[in-house]
């Protein structure tokens, strides 16, 4: 006799149940119950933002080398648990779960390699016409709220998560059931608590709060729904969030996905004796 898994949320490195006590029944194609996923509330989201904010200063200060190693470690741990994810994804009807997990591992390795390179590629020393040393470099935007693609694939989650955290941001992501299993990977990969927070729940209920929260610096919305995009644009105005809108599918591997969540900071200093 098997023991079914209880899927909770992932906030601040822990696995709490939703404070609301609500669940979403996840069933396979035959209608058999797979799990009672937590239906996160707006309060859960706010808790997650607090955790993300608290962890941001520390994550920002980790060396680029270390962040690269942590991303690579996530890939390693995922590789070790590949079978578990393949089974879980197949159970939910994801096509080609093996290649989905393989692609997710590859993508983590890809972004691990960018951790100490995007800064060099996208920064500049600027030859100003005065006696100043002037340079610009990307710095993390801060806390990012993410409405991930609606696909149940693991790649859809990893493709939004990796470029955000490799760029030293912290995040709260609304995603699918398997994201909670992925949280078990994160929790054993030296990712500091609070850097990634994962929620499951109803998109329509949470999307507004993801865009409105005043302590969120940037929102990534993966959507093709024009009315949802318009609403999120309006909701994100309160604190002028950096709004990144992508279509409802996995993000292509690209350093520009890292740069989407960076601010250019320019520093001036006089030259002279």
């Amino acid at each position: 006799m098997t023991i079914p898994k209880t899927y909770k949320l992932f906030i601040n490195g822990q696995f709490p149940r939703t404070e609301s006590g609500r669940v979403l029944e996840i069933r396979d194609q035959k209608g058999v119950l797979i799990a009672n996923a937590s239906r996160a509330s707006r309060k859960d989201f706010r808790e997650a933002v607090s955790a993300a904010r608290k962890s941001f200063e520390g994550w920002k200060k980790t060396t680029a080398y270390l962040r690269g190693q942590i991303l690579y470690r996530i890939a390693e741990v995922l590789q070790g648990r590949k079978g578990q994810f393949v089974d879980e994804l197949r159970m939910q009807g994801v096509k080609n779960p093996e290649s989905d997990v393989d692609a997710s591992i590859d993508l983590l390795v890809y972004y691990a390699g960018w951790s100490d390179k995007y800064q060099s590629v996208f920064s500049s020393v600027n030859p100003v016409s005065s006696a100043h040393f002037n340079f610009s470099s990307p710095v993390p935007v801060g806390v990012v709220s993410v409405i991930s693609p609606s696909s149940l694939s693991l790649l859809s989650l990893v493709s939004v998560l990796a470029p955000i955290i490799v760029g030293a941001n912290t995040c709260v992501i609304l995603s699918h059931l398997s994201s909670i299993s992925f949280a078990e990977v994160l929790a054993t990969s030296d990712v500091p608590a609070g850097v990634v927070n994962l929620l499951t729940g109803q998109r329509a209920e949470l999307v507004g709060e993801f865009a409105r929260h005043m302590d969120v610096n940037s929102t990534l919305l993966c959507s093709d729904d024009q009315s949802e995009i318009g609403a999120v644009e309006r909701d994100s105005i309160s604190n002028l969030k950096r709004l990144v809108i992508r279509s409802d599918c996995s993000l292509e591997p690209s350093p520009y996905s890292i740069i989407d969540f960076q601010e250019d900071q320019t520093t001036w200093h006089p030259i002279g004796v």
Partner: protein, 483 residues
């Protein structure tokens, strides 16, 4: 004799001559390479004496529509098809013409906007020309700016600029947009339309293809018509955070791109190991440059407690030597406040500052009776919650606070929804870089302040805006990237 007497009373006036060129008594709109008469007109005045300088067209929906159509036609038929190197050559040509006519532009900028001729002559106009020259060179080299991606023009850009650096802002907006292959419709600020119209004359003389640059003067409603028009692909705005938010709301769901360069409340942090005299000059330049009408002005001063008395004493002495008066006099340090409306806003915030309990200090220099003027003003005994500490005054008003530790300075400096710029003064390099990298600001000055250059990206974090202007990074605002 006190040294101030000599400087205040004894200096010989040195007015800039204005008889070497003429300003038209009226200007039309520049649309599709032609001068188009608007249905309505409005007057632009000299804020130093309230005299009318000229009458300019007030573009309504009809004229804005006409301008956008002209820009679209130019984009599709000429500008996006032209070899990139030729686009560059047009921009080089504009840069050169601007250098040649620099003095006329400087005079008009001071007449129409109230800024000291020394600033318009030495900062605004040369920087504007430099922006054209810099971006001209990018036109055929854009692929090198975006490794691994293909930059494409966006299309027709609507651009709305403020009154504090009228010509410079026009250059910041037009030069990169054109270099990247876009065409533009630019709306100058209501109180300072003249230098942009002179730029339109210059662009006409440069023989730029008709419709590549269209200039429509007007007020808020003109800007609104531009923002809401379905024919633009992007809006680039410089102005207040409040209006920036309105613009985002207006274009939400439309698919239009945007960059916003908005307000600020920069912290200028002085450590006890700073070179004090240089720091005092930096504070002065930070807040009184351009009458404090600067979005990145160092309007919050944080002085380490141990040197607070000394810095304040030197600051007051230095302020006493500043000459407030005729913008066209080369001696002038602080010119006229740009408009009656802005003067009222400054006065009202200063009044609130006093009512909330901050201590006001103003120098005793004379200011002219006619026109719009405001004395350089300091507030001490400020609390973080005071409105003069939290809100952008956009005038020569400095809110002073003290701190003990670097950590406290950062906490106070970052306690604002803005994030445009900041300054740090210390003799210790490691401390300077620790501080600058901890400031939530897009531009940080260490042992200097209010420096600008076309090669150096400018723009804010948080509610100070979205996107950068200038430098390699600024090009992204005017390209769509194909990955």
């Amino acid at each position: 004799m006190d040294s101030n007497d000599f400087i205040l009373g004894g200096y010989a006036k040195a007015p800039e001559s204005i008889d070497h060129f003429s300003i038209n008594s009226s200007y039309d709109l520049f649309i599709g390479g032609r001068w188009v008469k608007a249905t309505q007109q409005f007057k632009t005045t000299n804020p130093a004496n309230d005299q009318v300088i000229a009458e300019v067209g007030l573009a309504g929906k009809k004229e804005v529509n006409q301008a956008i159509k002209a820009a679209r036609k130019a984009y599709e038929s000429v500008w996006s098809k032209m070899p990139a190197a030729d686009r560059g050559k047009y921009l080089f040509r504009i840069a050169r013409l601007l250098q040649e006519r620099a003095r006329q532009f400087a005079v008009v900028e001071s007449l129409d906007g109230g800024k000291p001729i020394r600033e318009s002559r030495d900062v605004d106009v040369p920087l504007a020309a430099a922006h054209f020259f810099y971006h001209a060179g990018w036109a055929d080299k854009l692929s090198y700016a975006f490794p691994g991606a293909k930059p494409k023009p966006i299309g027709v850009i609507g651009q709305i600029i403020p009154w504090n650096f009228p010509l410079l802002m026009a250059a910041w907006k037009i030069a990169p947009a054109l270099a990247c292959g876009n065409t533009v419709v630019l709306k100058p600020a209501e109180t300072t339309p003249l230098s942009a119209l002179m730029l339109a004359q210059l662009i006409e003389d440069a023989d730029l293809p008709p419709g590549v640059v269209n200039i429509v003067t007007g007020a808020g409603e003109t800007g609104q018509a531009l923002v809401e028009h379905p024919g633009i692909d992007k809006i680039a705005f410089t102005g207040s955070t409040e209006v920036g938010k309105h613009i985002r709301k207006a274009i939400a769901g439309s698919g239009k791109r945007y960059t916003l360069e908005l307000g600020g409340k920069a912290a200028n942090i002085i450590f006890e190991d700073a070179p004090i005299n240089e720091a005092v000059e930096g504070i002065i330049n930070g807040i009184f440059f351009n009458q404090g009408h600067v979005c990145c002005a160092g309007s919050r001063l944080f002085v380490q407690e141990s040197i607070a008395d000394q810095v304040l004493r030197k600051l007051k002495k230095r302020i006493g030597t500043l000459i407030v008066g005729d913008p066209l006099d080369k001696n002038t340090d602080i010119g006229a406040i740009n408009s009656r409306e802005q003067l009222d806003r400054i006065k009202s915030l200063v009044k609130i500052g006093k009512e909330e309990g901050a201590q006001l200090w103003q120098s005793d220099q004379r200011i002219p009776r006619k026109g719009n003027w405001f004395k350089p003003t300091l507030f001490t005994q400020c609390a973080q919650s005071h409105r003069i500490v939290q809100e952008e005054v956009f005038g020569p008003v400095l809110a002073i606070q003290t701190f003990r530790t670097p950590k406290e300075a950062i906490a106070k400096a970052n306690n604002t929804p803005y994030g445009l710029s900041g300054g740090v003064w210390t003799d210790k390099g490691s401390k300077a870089f620790q501080m600058t990298s901890s400031l939530n600001a897009g531009v940080v000055w260490a042992n200097t302040f209010n420096k600008f250059d076309p090669v150096s990206p400018f723009g804010g974090m948080q509610e100070s805006g979205i996107g950068r202007e200038g430098g390699l990074q600024g090009l992204r605002a005017y390209c769509n990237l194909e990955l």
